[in-house]
Amino acid sequence: MVIRGPGRVRSEGGRQLPSRDPGFLIHETMEDMMRKKWLSAGAVVGLGAVMLLTSGYSVMANTSGYEAYKSAFTHTKGADSMASHIVWSLSDNGTKVLSGTADMKVNHAKQAMSMTAVVDDGTRTHTMQTYRQDGKMILKSSDSEVYRVMDQAPEWQHDGKTAQMPQAAEQVMEALVGNIKDLATVETGSDGTKEAELHLSGSQIPAVVNAVGSLIASKAGSADGWNHGAAVQGHLPAGHSEWKVNLPKLTDEIKVEQIDLDAKIGKNAALENQSAEILVTGKDAAGAAHVLTLQLNAGFSGYDATTPDRVDLAGKQTEKVDNRWERNGWNRH
């Protein structure tokens, strides 16, 4: 590029030499060229920064959907009292193997709970009622007339599944799960309710989840496992007939294929409904392929307005039972 201007004076060793410039032209200096280049490079960086800001905010907005679900979940856990109705079933290659329902009322403030759980193994149903009242845990199974009573330690020690996960552990889990958060979608309906959805399939399922799920699935097929567990929980006093559980024993290629989680969050920012469908595939010892499906639907209601049912033990057969949970504490779970 050439700019018109006064002729350049050439100097060589301090002596002025006749100008060689053909008629008043100055070449664009090095500095001008470089300045232009810096400007264009700087503009590109600026453009990139703008792009980063807009996309970053959008990503954060989406993650806020996931956060909304999390806060609903926390709200639900933290409620003083609530009622829930759970329906679940476990199928193998489409045939229902095990199913059940549970109706639960919990009041944390009063440390009270009542639950009726029904399990159906295809041939029989079995009902279990559980009450927590007056510092005691009362269990009654449909198989017997006896009410088994155990002394209940304060809630915090027992709180197996519903104990607060320390925040650090929660953050570690989220970090491990990484971009999974971006897969969750939350839509707000016109009535103020929200629908949250997280569908994972195949390689989206994190290693940890898959490993745990596969392990459970492989143990689930063992009838011993069920009976032992049932005995521990007091469902099955020794001597009574064992359950017939038709779950296949998976030995090979166990994989969690799909996890579909759907939740409905009510106007009060608490969970109204949570449904889950988990598919695990595998092969049994004979080489036959199985697709295990766990379906679960839980409805939540009566927030801060639920009073659990009570049972009156007057005139009923009772039996004092050692509280295994208390003995082993948190580890039991």
């Binding site: 792009m51 953050q171 990484g178 971009n179 090979d252 969690v256």
Partner: protein, 247 residues
């Protein structure tokens, strides 16, 4: 353009001659095989193995995108820019008929070539290993998508490494700094989870959004634009610094 191509060949040859490059590619070839052999040796149920991440190729991918590929790119960037300055061999590129912009571009592309090559080798090695043990051959299309998608976050991280390398005049200090920054960035989600969406280092598992049922189109676009913006900024800023260097 000839100068760009010529220097690209040079930079590729220089990177190839280094032991770390050969080791890195060898690792991509061997690790899947070793994993498969080890698991059958330990008589672990093959099902459990594939249960991890759903398939061996994807398990290997996440291992490599988490640490191995970023580490290689950091080392290559540190060497190519800061290391050559320290060894005084940067002169050899700058004194030839190739502009600074093309010299920079060729160094960047050479690093990208080896990152892509590693992904390719890894995919082939793990798909073949998985198939050899009679694993599920289905899902190859999905794993291929995952590998292809992973190139984008890897490039973004690589270019950030290149930018950081411009700030140093010694290969070792450049590499150490990049590693520290990377470790801190990986710890970020634990301390400030809200900020992690902004950090380019949080997207090493970005491929997850592309496989299976996938993520909503909006999320795909936003995260892609985010990565692209890092790519643009890091490239331009690195170029500016490289072009200003006075030897």
């Amino acid at each position: 353009m000839h100068s760009l191509y010529a220097n690209l060949l040079n930079e590729t040859e220089k990177l190839w001659r280094q032991r770390r490059t050969k080791g890195f590619l060898l690792l991509a070839l061997i690790l899947p095989v070793v994993t498969v052999l080890l698991s059958s040796l330990l008589k672990m149920r093959a099902g459990m193995l594939f249960g991890l991440e759903g398939s061996l190729p994807v398990a290997m991918l996440h291992l490599f995108t988490f640490a191995i590929i970023p580490l290689y790119m950091a080392a290559a960037a540190a060497h190519s820019f800061a290391g050559e300055m320290a060894a005084r061999t940067m002169k050899l590129v700058l004194l030839r008929p190739v502009t600074r912009a093309r010299a920079y571009a060729s160094k960047v592309i050479a690093i990208a070539v080896f990152a892509a090559l590693c992904l390719g080798v890894l995919w082939i090695a793990s798909t073949v290993s998985a198939w050899a043990v009679g694993g599920p051959a289905g899902g190859m299309a999905d794993s291929l998508k995952a590998y292809a998608a992973s190139f984008v976050p890897m490039m973004a991280i690589g270019l950030v490494c290149v930018f950081i390398a411009q700030l140093f005049s010694s290969g070792t200090s450049a590499l150490m700094t990049i590693v520290l920054i990377y470790a801190a960035a990986k710890a970020l989600p634990l301390l400030l989870p809200q900020l992690s969406a902004w950090s380019v280092f949080s997207y090493t598992r970005w491929d997850v959004l592309w496989t299976g049922s996938g993520a909503p189109a909006g999320t795909l676009l936003n995260t892609f634009l985010l990565l692209l913006s890092y790519i643009i900024m890091a490239y331009a800023a690195g170029l500016m610094m490289f072009a200003r260097k006075q030897l």
